[in-house]
Symmetry: C2
Subunit: 178 residues, 2 copies
């Protein structure tokens, strides 16, 4: 069975994942989100992210990565490298991810903004979308989704309203019949 | 008590209310949405919309309006007019809506895309947001929200997952303390 690629993020109701300066101090935490998102983290062993998201992660103190999880950072400017838990990948994200999905392993967490997600959606490599929608209109910032040439149909597989006002939704990407 | 202005729309998970050609054939109907949205329609007696949304409504055969509801269409190009159930308003939407909220009446439904909603959000005249989020990434189209200079905090007051895959969410706009 192919590994599941999940595009997952906390976002605002108007579809931003961060302010324009990359800050995300508006993200709410709580027992319920810890439980639901903690369950998701247990299903993954790989994180894919773009270089901008990586910069934000490093500034937030997550540059050491997460135990038992390999973080793959896609960058055309950073020198390719590999150390335990971290790979800097200069290869095309679509080719890399297609190959990755064919290897043995657990779930793959596609993290960050829509810039990295877009080519993967277009290539049909994203299997699920999980959003923690926050009760906020940010007004401007870094968008969750970028424009794509074709619609993608989803099937809702989960919807959990949290007491803190967030709504966690999870969808499976519907595959076109051959 | 002031009248409630509700910005309400069907939208896709990536925040569009229609395709670029204004079509909305992707909107799902069903018993549950009829019930929830029917309940909302009973609370309103006025609809505010921009001229583009009006054009779409006319093309969809809703140019006769809705029984017992006054539709106010904001346009700087159509000649101002008033007939039972329909007003073409050339006045600024903020000034008009501020005055409207001070008159006696029921709820006010702010319909359509974010272009008309934006100045009303910025002026603090929108009280609620109700979205029927569809299980679809449209990729491109007419956006639900436009950029705004300041964040707006919301309080979730309803969240109903429909069997057809939609999620209906309703929020109250939080007022800043004076």
């Amino acid at each position: 069975m192919a590994r599941t690629v999940t595009f997952s993020a906390a976002c605002t109701l108007d579809g931003y994942i961060a302010r324009s300066d990359s800050s995300f101090d508006w993200i709410l935490h709580g027992e319920e989100s810890r439980e639901v998102l903690g369950g998701f983290w247990k299903t993954i062993d790989t994180i894919l992210m773009g270089r901008r998201t990586w910069d934000v992660a490093v500034r937030a103190g997550h540059g050491q990565g997460h135990a038992g999880i390999e973080t793959c950072v896609f960058s055309r400017t950073l020198p390719p490298s590999e150390r335990p838990g971290l790979r800097i990948v200069s290869e095309d994200v679509v080719a890399f991810t297609r190959r990755l999905k064919e290897t043995h392993g657990n779930g793959i967490f596609l993290m960050g903004g829509g810039e990295l997600a877009r080519p993967l959606f277009e290539a049909g490599l994203v299997d699920e979308v999980g959003l923690n929608i926050h009760p906020l209109l940010l007004g401007s910032g870094i968008p969750l989704f970028h424009e794509m040439p074709r619609p993608i149909e989803l099937e809702r597989i989960d919807c959990v309203p949290f007491r803190n006002g967030c709504v966690y939704v999870r969808y499976a990407v519907r595959r076109k019949r051959a």
